[in-house]
Symmetry: C3
Subunit: 414 residues, 3 copies
């Protein structure tokens, strides 16, 4: 095993730990912003992380990252990925798609599972106080095995059809944030359907109950955790990993002075840079950082007008809009020299760096990828909760239903 392989595995493993810490942070965010009980948050975090490890090990790691069937979905029976090799000692082999960097199957599994886990936690925020925990648990299994796996298989898996078209999404503007937003939208729509059926005119809002201490802990943990989010995605500790760290830190300067805007400012900056952190210069990152605040505020106002849903922590203006915006910006701000260092030598310069026709073509590919992925995730997510609703007599908590019609107050997690 060469020195570079050793260092790469160590690096990616540590980044996986940092990303894993972000699942914890999302749980604490629910405590700090929405007054969720801390034990409820802990149980949910353990449920999400535990299911992610288990479902991804059994099949989700394969459906997302094994050699694909026709570019559509990873082969679920691919040997090294199926339950991580089961009882076979073959797990230590390098994972097929990163043999150059020498990442072991276990390393790559943990890193990607941490990503899957944090996207599920983001989806879980819109389910808070509204969706039955049992429904959310079953939904999680489908999400991990299939819903999340599709955009990952298309874009991050080198044999995916979008990847082959040339689509890139560095650390998951679409695969992580956009997909979480689209999946959440599918759930929120079903919640509204049930609320409407109960005669509500407006979706019961989940009120803010800010607990500054837990909010602060959540923000600090997210901040530290993100340290591993973007740099780890280079999937190899090469020169460019460092550039990415610098850029990530850059964007942390775009904050505003209000506890809720502090968290959203940090998050928005981090979300927007996610899909292109490995492709742009520090100067471009600063410009992108400066654009984040206005975009979030405009998107939040737009979303806020929708009376049929409640989005207390900005999943749609933040993760969905921000993630998509960042992916689009690849076609404007990318510089081939940075992208080459990050392992994407085929990515052309963006429109602002003389990319011309190639950049326009890249923009088209990214738009295509965004459209197909968002629609697919939304439809699958909504179908899943529709089926669950049919089987479970609705996915919303019965307690919530009672309380809503009487007082409008939020119900505890079912």
């Amino acid at each position: 095993m060469t020195a570079a392989v050793l260092a790469n595995n160590l690096w990616v493993l540590l980044c996986g730990l940092f990303v894993f810490m972000m699942t914890i942070a999302v749980g604490l965010l629910e405590v700090g912003e929405l007054g969720e009980r801390v034990v409820g948050s802990l149980v949910k975090t353990i449920l999400i992380t535990g299911l992610a490890v288990l479902v991804m090990a059994i099949v989700g790691f394969n459906t997302a990252f094994a050699p694909t069937v026709g570019g559509i979905i990873g082969n679920p029976l691919y040997g090294p990925g199926l339950f991580l090799g089961g009882f076979s000692p073959g797990i230590a082999d390098s994972w097929w798609s990163v043999t150059g960097a020498g990442l072991r199957t276990g390393t790559y599994f943990l890193f990607e599972t941490a990503f899957a886990s944090v996207t599920l936690a983001l989806v879980g925020v819109v389910a808070l106080h509204k969706m039955k925990l049992s429904a959310f648990a079953i939904y999680s299994v489908v999400y991990l095995a299939l819903i999340w796996a599709l955009p990952a298989a298309w874009i991050w898996n080198p044999s995916g059809w979008l990847a082959k078209l040339g689509m890139v999404d560095f650390a998951g503007g679409l695969v992580v944030h956009g997909a979480a937003g689209a999946a959440g939208l599918g759930i929120v729509w079903q919640i509204w359907r049930e609320e409407k059926a109960r005669g509500l005119k407006v979706s019961t809002p989940v009120p803010y109950r800010v607990n500054p201490g837990w909010l602060t802990l959540a923000i600090l943990l997210l901040w530290v955790g993100w340290f591993g989010f973007n740099p780890g995605s280079v999937l190899a500790f090469n020169d460019e990993a460092i550039v990415v760290v610098a850029i990530t830190s850059y964007l942390l300067t775009s904050e505003i002075f209000n506890p809720l805007y502090v968290v959203n400012g940090i998050l928005m900056g981090l979300i927007v840079i996610t899909p292109l952190a490995g492709f742009v210069s520090p100067g471009s990152a600063l410009i992108l950082g400066l654009l984040c605040g206005p975009i979030f505020i405009y998107a939040e106002k737009f979303v806020g007008r929708a009376k049929w849903m409640s989005d207390p922590v900005g999943l749609f203006p933040g993760h969905l809009a921000g993630g998509i915006f960042g992916v689009l910006m690849i076609a404007f701000f990318a510089q081939n020299q940075f992208a080459t260092g990050s392992g994407f030598p085929a990515l052309p310069n963006g429109l602002f760096f003389g990319g011309g026709g190639a950049a326009l073509k890249q923009l088209g590919i990214e738009i295509l990828g965004i459209g197909v992925s968002v629609v697919a995730v939304f439809v699958l997510s909504h179908l899943t909760v529709r089926v669950l609703a049919a089987l479970m007599r609705g996915i919303t908590t019965s307690f919530a239903a009672e309380v809503e019609t009487r007082t409008g107050a939020p119900a505890p997690l079912g």
Copy 2:
């Protein structure tokens, strides 16, 4: 210095930091489960960590890990280990027993001291509210210099008599958890002797006073800290370190939905896998994970029948029973190919993998090692507190004695 040596040292050093964080987590567990004041917990954590660094540096690192005298105990005067070389610059040399991995004396010292520290913190939990802090401090010195050092010298030190017989204990099912349990038992017996002498019929229970916030922080910190516990024990960042990480995460799925069971479920899973994490497949780890819950619950009921002691955080059903169970399972689940990758090429396959007679022999060795180690640690621990009780007119707090006879309420840390 070769690249592999660089990466190995960096890896083990980081793992040491994670293990060190677990000592902090045990302190916060006392706050979150037993209502200990947070400053009291902090002072105790600093005391334990500080004593561990100091006593281990002066002599405990040698008694545990220096070349042994007849396989029984490390030579306390071995040069590089005695106060880490004192004023001599020789500290940077490789530690004798890990010259292959190239670990420096300082790296190895910090890693093992973090282990010693966390076992002492576990012992400290049964002393909470019952034992004089001064008595516990003196006990700690003996524990670090001698009591803990013995099983470490026998099993982890390659020149130890049990190691030479072929006993293995990957990351400390016996050396860490079992020994902590046996040592705690020695203390608890003396506490009961003093309580009985004061006329009590039943040991005053230390009541649960759950603080969900601190309990949550403690669990999350334990979880993150364990990340470094098992993988670091490979003592070299090789392919297998990664397998271990995957396995560790696997077991995190075995939780139950109650704040106290959440913590115990996580702990039990982590404890049981500790002694064999480097030897088994992901599939075996999952099976072991599934066995943890029932074992803990049965053991807790068994321990709960004993009226002469109070074990509020499950040191005996969790760490003692779970650690011993995990060590026994080596002879059933081990696979030579995994063990070879972890640096134990002599370990035979377990009974479930066709080990046959060799596996039976291994089972015998492990049982012998468990028996001798548990008895030795228990006897030495109890003798130490007996001597302390004679010198200090009892090891229990006088305040506790007063309160007990009148109200049965727990007393603050003396």
Copy 3:
């Protein structure tokens, strides 16, 4: 890229993250010791970190670490450092002063920016409740671009005039702690001038309002963070980095049993070892650790007699006095063999190790460096706040002024 370069960059990057965590910890210290609102602390931490990243990227990294103009100040227009190369992909090149270790510009930038950030956070503690936040923000820009940059350019920059004389300061006894103390003194003096002008005879004390929970979190975070402070300063993960870690941990044993003394005991130990951690043996580190407590207590009494200022968290007895003491001790305790391993082969043995005349000369150089640096930082810091006071009609909060004259109670952050 060689294996050693890979490991060095990974190591320094991780250490940068740990140092960055200390800025967070200083913010929580204000919450835990002085009752600052946790959201106020969070906003201040984000402000400080954000400004540090931005100002250092634009110019401060160059004024401190670019090739100097006549040994006095780094060339602000040096290409790779000026806004980290702006839109140019040249950022990935190795930084000029550490080409041997192969550190990339981005790695080195993040590591040093984390240091600048934490020193600014230390200065911010004396401004708490007293100085307008707007004034502190403007002050921060000058501090990062110029005030902090000067001692860094003189001592840490290899082309600085003090570095060329032979002055050493391993991890910043003077560059970090001493400079923060001197800068804080410049602010405190201006606060006193404004308080005196309002007719006060004694500076309004900022009272202790201890919150044990946050104090505990702050201490634990500082402790973990320091793990990266000293070892990272080797700026290369070589054998000696490990020695440093061992020494850092050593000093953690010098604590006392009172929440405020616990934090100050830990801090004092860590501060004093900072400037010489890479140069001394474990034995010397222990002796230095034993000296820390008495020095702090004596210095605190001395500072406490001054009625014209308020120093609630010991910036002057701790960071200023402790940092200077540690730097002086280089000439007594250094051992050339350790220093050579840390990359300072020219440092002679200290007086206690037969250094003789060379050690005396080293002592003279260190005293010269301390004197010039402390005076320069103090004067520049004071001039900055004098100018700000003229422009903003005083730097103290108007609310503070009102409250002081009536009740003497502390005012919230302006």
